[in-house]
Amino acid sequence: MDVLFEEWRQIVDGFWETIQLLVLSGLIATVLGTLLAAMRVAPVRMMNAIGTSYVNVFRNTPLVVLFILVVFGLPELDIQYTYFEKAVIALSVYTAAFVCEAVRSGINTVATGQAEAARSIGMTFTQTLGRVVLPQAFRAVVPPLASVFIALTKNTSVAAGFGIADATATLSALLNNDPQAAVALFVGIGLGYVLIVAVISTGSHLLERRWAAAR
């Protein structure tokens, strides 16, 4: 148990790295995923095809493979990023595919009449989507999006093997120094992840409750 208190500084640093990865990749993935979802419902064939291919490729590629492509592939092509940036690229590109599908399912919950009404008063596709459909879609999307972010929280640990000193890497380091404290370390670091997940799901519940009334 003591090791958790003695090494708290290192553990906090590790989780700080995890949280930075989570927040940054979460934001980028949300923006990218929403754009992709818009492409998938756009009236342009080409855009549909791009959106669909993106989702099929990145949702079906194991995250570790993506990390290997970004971390080992890019330097071979002389494209240099910092390790943090590379981790964010891999995580957001991967998560965007899941965000896209969540948002698309949300769009499908909005009655067709809404889009038709918007179009009949002369709104363009972008206006229809941005002002009428997406605001209603996001309401339905809160719970599945929360699941995507919870999965992302755990996925950030993959970065530990690719040059990032996150909470999982800290666990590895502390374990190596003090193998006797294995159980305490696993439980302690595990609880840290549980805490992050708890924050995400609480946030999602609050949003859901708040927006549900308007429905």
């Binding site: 971390v71 071979e76 530990a160 093997g161 000193a165 890497a169 190596n176 120094n177």
Partner: protein, 298 residues
């Protein structure tokens, strides 16, 4: 891409040559005939109920080794058995138990799982660049040291003027294995540690220019330098001391520890230790060192 193909061709050529020479080697061994021959004791006599008697009677033993450290413990894709200094010494200890090398099961142990594997009896011994530390000795036995090395730096050939030793690492990104002591050590020296899952991934980052240096025990780095001497270079003096020990369990089995110590002492005295070193780590061109004095078994 072109680079990759050239490297693949080279590896292929090397493999073909290795296989061809292997075919001409003696006794149908899988190509690694360079190491010294470990003596297999006929019908060794051990006190009943001891760990030694247990393994000798079973006629087999499982040894935990590294498989990604050239020169120490390395197993390439498609290799039947690992090779390296730790492997040769493992064969010798098994031989003292009357177990020929064909009856040794090599199990890969990574830095994180060596203690659990010993405790759960998944391996009987660990010879896996296993540094002796008080924390480890509190839960498993570590007989040794049988080899002393220290942390060094590996850089690209063209950078050896810029990074000449540990004094130049301030603010420089240096990779090693996630969670290793080497990584912590380099951060204490002012470097920025970058952890990877394996040493081979780390060395690949140095080769591709994504990172400037790699750090871990000099012995391991020398193995990588020996693979591509005109691409990589080990620089600077050792800035830590790592003493390798043989891991066993339970830690208070003094008889077993004494047996391991006697076997290792015999290997040192009869020249096997030095021969094994020359055939493995010595390939990188370093002189064979003196074997360290081993601790008494308590």
């Amino acid at each position: 891409m072109r680079l990759r193909r050239t490297r693949a061709t080279l590896i292929f050529a090397a493999l073909t040559t290795a296989m061809a020479t292997g075919a001409c080697g003696e006794a149908g061994e899988d190509g690694e005939s360079s190491g010294p021959e470990a003596e297999v004791v006929e019908d060794p006599d051990f006190p009943e109920g001891s760990q030694m008697a247990e393994y000798a009677d079973a006629g087999s033993i499982t040894i935990g080794v590294k498989t990604d450290q050239p020169g120490i413990g390395f197993q390439g894709a498609g290799d039947e058995a690992p090779t390296g200094f730790d492997i040769e010494l493992g064969k010798y200890i098994a031989g003292q138990l009357g177990i020929p090398e064909d009856d040794i099961t090599w199990e890969e142990t990574i830095s994180d799982n060596r203690e659990p594997f010993l405790q759960q009896d998944r391996v009987d011994l660990v010879l896996a660049s296993y540094s002796i530390t008080p924390e480890r000795r509190a839960i498993v036995g570590q007989m040794g040291p049988y080899y002393a090395t220290g942390q060094q730096l590996l850089v690209r050939e063209e950078d050896k003027e810029d990074i000449t030793g540990v004094d130049d690492v301030n603010g420089v990104e240096v990779c090693s294995v996630t969670g290793s002591t080497s990584l912590e050590q380099i951060e204490e020296q002012g470097g920025v540690g970058r952890g990877f899952d394996t040493y081979s991934e780390c060395v690949e980052q140095v080769r591709s220019g994504a990172i400037d240096a790699m750090t871990t025990d000099g012995a391991i780095l020398l193995g990588y330098e020996a693979e591509t001497p005109d691409e990589l270079e080990v620089v600077g003096d050792e800035f830590s001391e790592e003493l390798y020990g043989v891991g066993y369990f339970p830690k208070d089995d003094t008889d077993f520890c004494n047996f391991l110590r006697d076997s290792m002492q015999k290997a040192i005295d009869d020249g096997y230790w030095a021969d094994a070193f020359e055939a493995t780590l010595g390939e990188s061109g370093i002189d064979t060192p003196e074997a360290p004095t081993m601790d008494e078994c308590a």
